[in-house]
Symmetry: C2
Subunit: 438 residues, 2 copies
Amino acid sequence: MPSTSLSFASRDAHRAWLAAQARLPAGFRCGATRFAFTPFEVAKPARMTVTVIALDQPTDAFAAMFTRNAFPGAPIIVGRKRLAAPRLGAVVVNNKISNVCAPGGVETAERICTEAGKKLGIASDEVLPSSTGVIGWRLPEDAITANLPAAVAALQAESILPAAEGIVTTDLYPKIRRADLAGGSIVGIAKGAGMIEPNLATMLVYLLTDLDVGRDDLRAALTAAVDGSFNCMSIDSDTSTSDTVALLSSRRVPCPDLAAFSQALARVCADLAEDVARNGEGVHHVIRAAVTGAPDRDCARAIGKSVVNSPLFQCAVCGNDPNVGRLVCAIGKEVGRNRPGLDLSRLRLTLGGRTIFADGAFRLDPSAEGALVAHLKGAELYASGPAKDGVFTPPIDFPPHERAVEIGIDLGIGNAMGTVIGTDRSHEYISENADYRS
Amino acid sequence: MPSTSLSFASRDAHRAWLAAQARLPAGFRCGATRFAFTPFEVAKPARMTVTVIALDQPTDAFAAMFTRNAFPGAPIIVGRKRLAAPRLGAVVVNNKISNVCAPGGVETAERICTEAGKKLGIASDEVLPSSTGVIGWRLPEDAITANLPAAVAALQAESILPAAEGIVTTDLYPKIRRADLAGGSIVGIAKGAGMIEPNLATMLVYLLTDLDVGRDDLRAALTAAVDGSFNCMSIDSDTSTSDTVALLSSRRVPCPDLAAFSQALARVCADLAEDVARNGEGVHHVIRAAVTGAPDRDCARAIGKSVVNSPLFQCAVCGNDPNVGRLVCAIGKEVGRNRPGLDLSRLRLTLGGRTIFADGAFRLDPSAEGALVAHLKGAELYASGPAKDGVFTPPIDFPPHERAVEIGIDLGIGNAMGTVIGTDRSHEYISENADYRS
């Protein structure tokens, strides 16, 4: 369940809420700069933003998790090395090109770290690089290093909003969540709208805190928080090559309660994960599949993922069509493939709290059908329609939110459970990913 | 590679080709009838077709394979029992409702077999039932049994076309393929357009032959043919609850060469599989991912499936956008998840025969980009555009065909290979599955 139930009526109200979320913890600054460049591969002008997040003093308290995709981007390869470094002092992020499988990508990422380090007065290996965007293209290294001074000059200690806005690609809105506790705070930002089925970590997420938690505790807390949030969501089943979650502490504020810190961190991650899902490319409905009574947690999550990743079920939800047969198909597909022999005779399904399946058969009639349609319509973010040119573009601009399609899947076998967040599939997703060239 | 390279300029030419494919083998008849009914669950009138395929004499030479989905339809449950029966004399198929997880579904299927058996003068357990359509709804048993006499009265020994047309749901065209050998023939028909990632068997496929091959040889040949055809394709990764492939021999013509029979059967299955993919809901491009140099066949197929099932790559292909980074992402997703540690350093990728990736990096520039766009456009079946009401409907009406997006994935590790057939993802798929209620 989301921790907030606000629903903004206007872009202004959303901006005001974002500004309040965005206050930086003590000891951090951020800045960003935007510039034009021409990708080598297509020779067509484009625009890129470089974002810098810097600590006032490099810290030994940092954690990071990266994608399990077998073709990690160059920044991931460099970032894994950074985990062993004594301190981290800054993160440098560019959008538009992800620096994955591009010739000389690792060397390019390292040189950008060196340049950024010079400007910030810290060592190369105290800079964590991050990139997101098109896979396979080369970073415009000269343009980036030429514009680094402007990003550094823009550093300020008030708001993380410039960073939240700087790291996005097709995102509809900046994603910022915070938790305040014990006189300090945890503030997180996320980039992500497509190529989202995180595996171990996710898209780009930066979590900053001034609470003094040491490196080992920080890494354990991050692993736990990611496991129950970003690892339990999928927009399109495509695990990115650039997934990164980094957590940095400036150690400015004593942390009296590690459990409370971990809980707050988990909450921030869960909120950001839902923000990312709701901002998924072309999303009209967020789907929350809560699996209970499972023999183990992995089984619960795998069944939840199979449901939210079923293209046919996604389309049905998009059309407010309670074609719940596709729900059973998705469960049976996963069990048949990966858990053959699992006893499904006690399966119970609910949609919007209403039991629709029990004792091996559906419980459907015209009145149930009407109630299910009403639940789907109630969870719809906006109605779809093509613009005059035939292209679909989403009109919405507002988290937080609590509307979601609520699916209950009780296997009736064991005590394990898992909740997975997913999305529907719409014309807007196709327009985003097919109608336009990247 | 497809065995035909025809491309029909008109619906008439396609119909003439279908008529030639459709000649029934000796010893078979088929007939179909269409009628109105009202589903209990939505109380909205609909139309259904019941199709009967009958042997002149029940045969002991039959084979069938069924879905691995853990929620098999009632006809699958009954069909698995039929495999142990001494003889089969007929198949009765209805579309519109698949009889899956519907109350009393198995008993309904059995009663329909009994009624059909009475009309045909054969035993209940000599009738194989099949159903396709909405999951979870009840079959209109009374309407079906009331219309069985009309379907039986329509039986004729000339053409399988009425059956090929009778079993479809959202299909654009009837799918019929044949092989003639040794004075006999194998003729197959298929239904399928969505919920297609067969697992062991597929959608609805009926293969009839007059060649005299005994039960054991028939079953072995079917297993081999299905393995390399229907099990190597995916339209939307959704393994159906109703997948069925049945093969019946009337044993009228001596079969001098079992190997030639098996080869011809495999060819018919491969052609039908490609027909089904090309008829996939909203398909603009068929994608053929040929994986070579793999350590084993399962690995080759899993990587091919990951590519053709990647929503982002599907969308890029739909838009004739050579966003080949998404291809690498899909390979890395599969390897990272299921084959961590697999050495990908010798990976070579081709698109349309052109090398685009080698030595760990892409080989892209504006001229390569232009050639890749040309290959994608050359493989496009039709250009997309919404109708005046904003709904997308496909205009095409013609297999056979050989246009496909040709992807080569050489892992450079071992000697195993596998080719997977898939499709792009378009507005038409969304319109088919979201804009309209089933």
